[in-house]
């Protein structure tokens, strides 16, 4: 049997972190127990016209208390509904889903861009390595940045140059002359393309976490595929299911 569950769970806290960004802790012992950094959960809307579950990455896991933390941006109707929920409310959730990151490397760079930053937090906590964190933001609204500081050296890039390196995460890596034997990354596709190019050029192994529109979230419907270099053993064609075989892939496995 699997370690996936689907359940109504209780929200133990729900707070606004900054404009449009929310943080929520859920009491779900089984998911907390089974979850790994880089995995995600599906959240179900109460509004019946919104049928599909919303995939959200696991940001932190508190195994002792059986809690899971999600940090998300209000992007549409579903996330808006979640943001209006309060501690004590219940929410239906399925998880943990996907493969998660493989913990490896001695000197690593974690690269998070925008709403791809949250899953890097549990990863930073879990790695037994020299951790460098590079966070890419649009502007000076540096949500979650301070929470990374206990786990590694944090570097920031902002598009508007208000904090840290002006530009993107690769600019920040170059400006600070960062070196690594392993890269982990999550963020918008253009950023991941940049990370892939950087990792390939410098011969650094890299794991990236991808996004795609999902329906089932468990590998049944083939909505969420990405192009793979090799023929996938399950699909028998050159694509892989992000929800099941991912969301984390080695850069050389896939075409972005």
């Amino acid at each position: 049997m699997s370690d996936k569950v689907i359940k109504d769970t209780i929200i133990t806290s729900s707070v606004k972190m900054s404009e449009g960004i929310y943080s929520m802790w859920l009491k779900e012992e089984e998911i907390a127990k089974a979850a790994k950094p880089g995995q995600f959960v599906s959240l179900y809307c109460k509004e019946g016209s919104q049928l599909l579950p919303r995939p959200i990455s696991i940001c932190e896991i508190d195994k002792k208390q059986g809690l899971v933390r999600l940090v998300y941006r209000v992007a549409g109707k579903g996330t808006l509904e979640f943001s209006n929920m309060q501690a004590g409310d219940s929410i239906k959730i399925m998880g943990p889903l996907g493969n998660g990151f493989t913990l490896e490397g001695k000197k690593v760079i974690l690269i998070g861009g925008g709403i791809g930053i949250p899953p890097m937090l549990e990863l930073a906590k879990s790695l037994d390595a020299n951790v460098q964190v590079v966070l890419g933001y649009r502007d000076g609204d540096l949500f979650l940045k301070e929470e990374f500081e206990p786990y590694g050296t944090v570097y920031v890039s902002t598009e508007d140059g208000s904090v840290g390196t002006k530009g993107n995460v690769i600019d920040a890596i170059n400006e600070n002359n960062l070196e690594a034997d392993m890269i982990f990354s999550c963020g918008p596709t253009p950023m991941l393309k940049g990370v892939k190019a950087y990792a390939m050029k410098n011969g650094i192994k890299a794991q990236i976490s991808l996004e795609e529109k999902m329906a089932c979230g468990i590998g049944a419907c083939l909505a969420c595929v990405c192009k793979s270099k090799e023929k996938d053993s399950h699909t028998n064609v050159n694509n892989k299911r992000i929800c099941k075989d991912g969301p984390v892939f080695y850069v050389e496995e896939i075409d972005l």
């Binding site: 049997m1 699997s2 996936k4 689907i6 179900y44 019946g48 016209s49 919104q50 049928l51 599909l52 579950p53 399925m94 795609e212 529109k213 999902m214 329906a215 089932c216 979230g217 468990i218 590998g219 049944a220 419907c221 083939l222 909505a223 969420c224 595929v225 990405c226 399950h234 699909t235 028998n236 064609v237 050159n238 694509n239 099941k244």
Partner: protein, 301 residues
């Protein structure tokens, strides 16, 4: 109380199956429901060779539904026979329905011939998928083509043949009659209704394929109407589907004339929905003192 139904000589333990393409070959949902409790499992469409499907995004949510253009991605009949059929055979109480797709009559024939010696209970021929440009829909929109392809399938199939009809036609009863004339053992309907969604912020289509098939509760009234019209026209069994979310919805289809029902998009919203629908039909029967599910079939005239 009897929940068993007989679809073209194949006895299902209850009238519930899953809609092709929403449930894979059962394995993933088997982590949430007991596959032995479902009357039959209908697999994702399978072709003679592997198909890579369409570019992403392949799906988009719409009000009370979704549009999809998966493009019938499938691993091809060889791997399917090696892996998926043996997996499904482990569920001895559940019938196996293999959904077949193709780009030409020859493609369909090849798959059906290949399945002749496999231990599967029924074949469902998808002549109605709107997402494949080469063939698919053309078969399903012309009564002569429906009759012709049905005949070809019947010539080759060892198992009973279910023809799956497209709703994207002016007169669904005409298509149903054509399939019946071609020798179909049963019909299933409806497949998805062709739809479109535009992302106004990006000023693009929500799907890479531009159009996609609309499914989910948004299409249910159309589906119930079509099942009713087809039930009035033909005398072969009907598997009804389109937006079934719960037992009440399933009962609407049965009362409109469906001998069995199929649950698709609802699985995405509630992975346990199949078992819940079966239990819900049973309690409805108890409460209303109905001894045999077959007594409800087409009871609304």
């Amino acid at each position: 109380m009897n929940m068993k139904v007989n679809i073209a000589g194949v006895e299902w333990n209850n009238p519930v199956t899953v809609a092709s393409g929403t449930f894979g070959s059962g394995k993933e949902y088997g982590e949430f429901v007991d596959l032995n409790k479902i009357g039959a499992i209908t697999t994702k469409g399978v072709a003679n060779v592997p198909w890579p499907g369409n570019p992403t995004p392949r799906i988009a949510e719409t009000y009370g539904g979704m549009i999809n253009a998966i493009g019938l991605q499938n691993p091809g009949i060889d791997l399917f026979c090696q892996r998926d059929i043996p997996y499904l055979q482990k569920f001895a109480d559940t019938k196996i329905i293999v959904n077949v797709c193709g780009k030409s009559t020859e493609d369909y024939c090849e798959v059906v011939e290949r399945l002749a010696d496999e231990k599967v209970d029924m074949l469902e021929i998808n002549i109605s998928c709107p997402n494949v440009k080469e063939g698919g829909i053309a078969f399903g929109q012309d009564p002569k083509a429906v009759e012709a392809i049905t005949k070809e399938m019947k010539k080759r199939a060892k198992q009973p043949v279910i023809m799956k009809l497209s709703p994207n036609v002016t007169n669904i009863a005409e298509m149903a009659l054509a399939a019946e004339a071609g020798g179909a053992d049963a019909l299933s309907l409806i497949n998805t209704l062709t739809g479109m969604k535009i992302d106004i912020n990006r000023r693009t289509f929500a799907l890479a394929n531009k159009t996609g098939g609309l499914s989910g509760p948004a299409i249910k009234p159309v589906a119930v109407r079509m099942v009713y019209q087809v039930a009035q026209a033909v005398s072969i069994p009907i598997i009804g589907m389109g937006g079934i979310m719960n037992a009440e919805d399933a009962l609407e289809f049965i009362m409109a004339g469906a001998n069995a029902v199929s649950i698709g998009t609802a699985n995405f919203h509630n992975p346990k929905v199949t078992e819940e629908v079966i239990a819900g039909i049973e309690s409805f029967m108890k409460e209303n003192n109905i001894k045999d599910i077959n007594d409800l079939v087409g009871c609304v005239k």
